[in-house]
Each structure stands twice: as structure tokens, then as C-alpha cells.
């Protein structure tokens, strides 16, 4: 293909991301699963990049979990989101950045719905006023936190203390990137690279020295799927989805997985333990699993933050073999020490999956 033609086509898959002044909306569940991810997103954006990211303690869930679990109607989710927009308006911001992929999908879906059905927007404005006497302006721009991290990927690479390469051989690490379904499968033009070539995570991995691997089930769901997991009788579907992905990526020998959704890293990480207990199968080298990271954790690692400050001890799959491979120093004795070196509980070891 002619280079200019390729550039023209590719430009259709890009999105402009404002670089500063963001209203930040946290995820409901990420702080429980991966406690340092959001903290380090703020630290990287505010302290290292010098950006203005505002957050308020008054914001709530976006209602996405309840909406996708079919426990609340869309109008309720819309009113919750309208309140978030009202908080943003009151704080004087016009760009909204959210930590959760489902929130991103939810905000986008609601804004698109209001564009198609303005009468519904009017109804929600009325409901919001009746319920809490607030008014709002719609955000000019909605982004996911991984969009911002993608935008700053080259600056992070310049500041990086480590690269995603094997310190012994100098070969790039083999990275599996897994993008949350609600990022660009619903509204392709809202994601970097669209639904066909989403490059938000592969861009980061490559900028930081890794080599992204392609495998047959690359765009398959992680298996969370809300109702699939939340109803115990359906949980086998969730597990089977994850297993399908691992069976597909295993022949390519990935070193790590990078994700941008709250649910995906949790399920890709924890299900490795469940699969190993059920059928004795592990997918990493020498009985270990494949470590799964959020993009903030991976950014923190290459920037040289302490792995235990990044909360990597909360992962089910041991990260130590990978840290050794990259050459990142860590103190095993401090793995289960919390704030002010307070002992936090040490988990029991699995019977099959090897942990450090």
C-alpha cells in the first residue's frame, strides 16, 4: 500500500485527546482488586506530567454494574451519570476521564442516546433536578484513563528506568494486550484504533520496549460478562471464556498480559488459580502463571516504582519471575508489609499454581 494512503486510512482510527484539565471519575471495584493503580495514575499524571486532574469525594458509581446486570433501568443509570456531570460542571471542568472501561462505555452510550433522543435528556434533567436540585452541562470530551496514558506513553518511555526487555538476552518481552469490551466494541470511533485495530495498549507496550503478540482469540472477552459471573450457576461460562483465551495464547509463550479494564485483569489473574485447581493446568513457565497487569502498574514498573508500593502482592499470579527477568529489584521480605511496615495477612499457597 502507498504510505500516504495508509496514513490517511489510519488517521480515521485516531482520536484527539485533550492533554490537560480533566475531571476524574474513579472505578467502583479497581481499588479493591488493584489498589495502587488509580493512585499511580494520578501520581504519574499530576506529579510527573504536571497535569490538572480534579477529583471529588462526592462522586458515586456510574451505575454501570447494576445496568449491565439488569438490576436497574437505563433511566436510573442516566440520572446517576447526570449527577456525575453536574459535579463536573460545578467544579468548572469540561473533560471527563474515567478509570473504568464500563463507566467509559456507559457515559458514551448515554451521551449517544441523548443525541439520538433529546426528549430523554430533557426527562433526565428533570429527574435530576427533582432528586437533588442539580443541573449539568454535557462533557465536551470523554476519555478513558488508558487514553491519557497512551497519549503520554512516549514521555513515560523517556523517563523510564526499565524497559520491557529480557535483561539477559536483550530480547523484547512478549506482551499480550487485552482491551476491555466496553472500550471500543460498542462505539468504535470512541477508541484509539477503533474496534478493528485498537492500539491503546499495544501502543504503550511497544513504546516501553515490549513486543505485542497476536493470537487467535486476541479480541475475545475475558469472561467477566457481569451476569455470567454474578450468577453462580453461569460462572462456568465465565471461566470457560478465560480458559479459551489462555489455551489460545499459550503456544505463543507470553511473558505478561496488560489490560485496561477493572474486570479483565481480575479474571485473567484469578481464574488461572481456579483452572489450575480444577485440572492442574498452568500457563506460564515452570508451573507459574502468566502475570497480569493494569496499564498503570506496568507504567509504574518501567518508571521504577517499588513493586510492592504498586500493589503487585495483591495479584494471584506471582510477579517475581517477571521482575527478575526485567531486572527490577524488590525485597521479598517486604512483600506483605502494608503502610508504615505494618504486617498484612499472608495468603495460603495454592496446591498447583506456583507462587513465590
Amino acid at each position: 500500500m502507498i504510505y500516504q494512503g495508509k496514513q490517511k486510512i489510519w488517521s480515521e482510527y485516531q482520536k484527539e485527546i485533550p492533554s490537560d484539565h480533566w475531571f476524574y471519575a474513579r472505578s467502583c471495584i479497581r481499588q479493591n482488586f488493584f489498589p495502587a493503580s488509580e493512585k499511580y495514575f494520578l501520581e504519574i499524571c499530576r506529579d510527573l506530567m504536571g497535569k490538572d486532574i480534579y477529583e471529588t469525594p462526592h462522586h458515586t458509581t456510574c451505575g454501570g454494574i447494576a445496568y449491565h446486570s439488569d438490576t436497574i433501568p437505563q433511566e436510573t443509570a442516566m440520572t446517576i451519570v447526570a449527577r456525575q456531570f453536574a459535579l463536573m460542571t460545578e467544579a468548572g471542568y469540561k473533560n471527563l476521564v474515567c478509570s473504568c472501561i464500563t463507566s467509559f462505555g456507559n457515559y458514551t452510550e448515554i451521551l449517544e442516546t441523548w443525541r439520538e433522543f433529546p426528549e430523554l435528556e430533557a426527562k433526565i434533567r428533570e429527574l435530576l433536578w427533582k432528586s437533588c436540585k442539580r443541573e449539568f452541562e454535557k462533557p465536551e470530551y470523554v476519555a478513558h484513563c488508558s487514553d491519557l496514558m497512551y497519549k503520554f506513553r512516549n514521555e513515560i518511555a523517556e523517563m523510564a528506568k526499565f524497559r520491557l526487555v529480557d535483561k539477559e538476552t536483550g530480547d523484547p518481552l512478549r506482551v499480550v494486550e487485552h482491551i476491555g469490551c466496553h472500550y471500543s466494541k460498542m462505539f468504535p470511533h470512541k477508541g484509539v484504533g477503533g474496534a478493528e485495530y485498537p492500539c491503546v495498549l499495544s501502543g504503550m507496550a511497544e513504546a516501553w520496549g515490549g513486543q505485542v503478540i497476536d493470537y487467535p482469540e486476541r479480541r475475545h472477552c475475558c469472561g467477566f460478562g457481569f451476569r455470567q459471573y454474578l450468577v453462580k450457576a453461569n460462572r462456568g461460562y465465565s471461566l470457560s471464556n478465560t480458559r479459551k483465551k489462555f489455551e489460545s495464547m499459550e503456544p505463543f509463550h507470553p511473558d505478561l498480559i496488560i489490560t485496561n479494564c477493572p474486570g479483565c485483569p481480575y479474571f485473567l489473574d484469578r481464574w488461572q488459580y481456579v483452572i489450575s485447581e480444577m485440572n492442574g493446568k498452568t500457563y506460564g513457565r515452570n508451573g507459574y502463571g502468566i502475570p497480569v497487569f493494569t496499564y498503570e502498574e506496568l507504567a509504574g514498573l518501567v518508571l521504577g516504582y517499588d513493586p510492592w508500593d504498586l500493589g503487585l502482592q495483591m495479584h494471584q499470579v506471582a510477579v517475581e519471575p517477571l521482575l527478575d527477568k526485567i531486572g527490577i529489584a524488590y525485597d521479598p521480605a517486604k512483600k506483605y508489609l502494608g503502610l508504615n511496615e505494618k504486617e498484612i495477612m499472608k495468603p495460603a499457597l495454592p496446591t498447583v499454581l506456583k507462587c513465590c
Binding site: 453462580k232 450457576a233 460462572r235 462456568g236 461460562y237 471461566l239 470457560s240 480458559r243 479459551k244 489455551e247 481456579v274 485447581e277 480444577m278 485440572n279 496446591t351
Partner: protein
């Protein structure tokens, strides 16, 4: 360890283990089988599907995977109403395709040994 749930059977097919001879035979009987892109519009519009389990998309998939019994069982639920022909985005005369497949199997008097079908799962 019993977690109270287990793996669902995988629907993934190992293309290296599939017997494509049935598909190649059917290609000659009904060449339109190659035009199908598996969108499922035919199945979505099928009146009989909820009652008989008929799904032309699945019939073609079964043929591609060498599952003759499955394909024949599903085809027996077709009423030949032709609604699927009206919605096919590839312009396949699906009714004619179904008749061609049925005619071939009706004229094929040999006793088919279904035990030869290999379960192709990973």
C-alpha cells in the same frame, strides 16, 4: 477442588483435525454454500427455529465441520417457507440451497456410518 461450577464444553474447532470431504461434496451440490458469511440473518428470521432447532447458519457450520448427522437433523425441521431467502444479505437462494442438500441426501441411499464423525474439539 470443587468450586460449584465447571468448564463449559468448548465450541472451538481444530481446523487441522476437521474432515472437509463432506463440505467439498456439498460445494458441488450447492455452490452457494461458499457465499454464506455466517451472519445468521436466516436463522433469526426462521419461523420454525424455536420449535424444531433448524438454523441454516448452523447447518452450514456443521457441514464445514464434517458433522453430517447434525446437519441432516436440523434440515429435517425446515418447512421451506422461504423467509430466509428474503433476508439473506449475500443474495443466496437459501430455500433452493436447502432443497438441493435435502435432495442429495434423499438420493444418497448408502447407510451413513455416523460413528466415523470425529468429535473435533480442543
Amino acid at each position: 477442588m470443587d468450586f460449584g461450577f465447571g468448564f463449559s464444553p468448548s465450541s472451538a474447532a481444530d481446523l487441522d483435525k476437521i474432515d472437509l470431504s463432506l463440505y467439498h461434496r456439498m460445494e458441488k451440490v450447492a455452490p452457494d454454500i461458499r457465499t454464506c458469511m455466517g451472519c445468521g440473518s436466516c436463522s433469526a428470521t426462521c419461523t420454525g427455529a424455536p420449535f424444531s432447532g433448524m438454523s441454516l447458519r448452523k447447518v452450514i457450520l456443521a457441514i464445514q465441520r464434517g458433522k453430517e448427522r447434525e446437519a441432516r437433523e436440523m434440515l429435517s425441521g425446515c418447512m421451506l417457507c422461504g423467509k430466509c431467502t428474503m433476508v439473506c444479505p449475500r443474495g443466496i437462494n437459501t430455500r433452493n440451497l436447502i432443497i438441493s442438500l435435502c435432495r442429495y441426501w434423499d438420493s444418497d441411499k448408502r447407510e451413513y456410518d455416523f460413528s466415523r464423525e470425529v468429535e473435533v474439539k480442543i
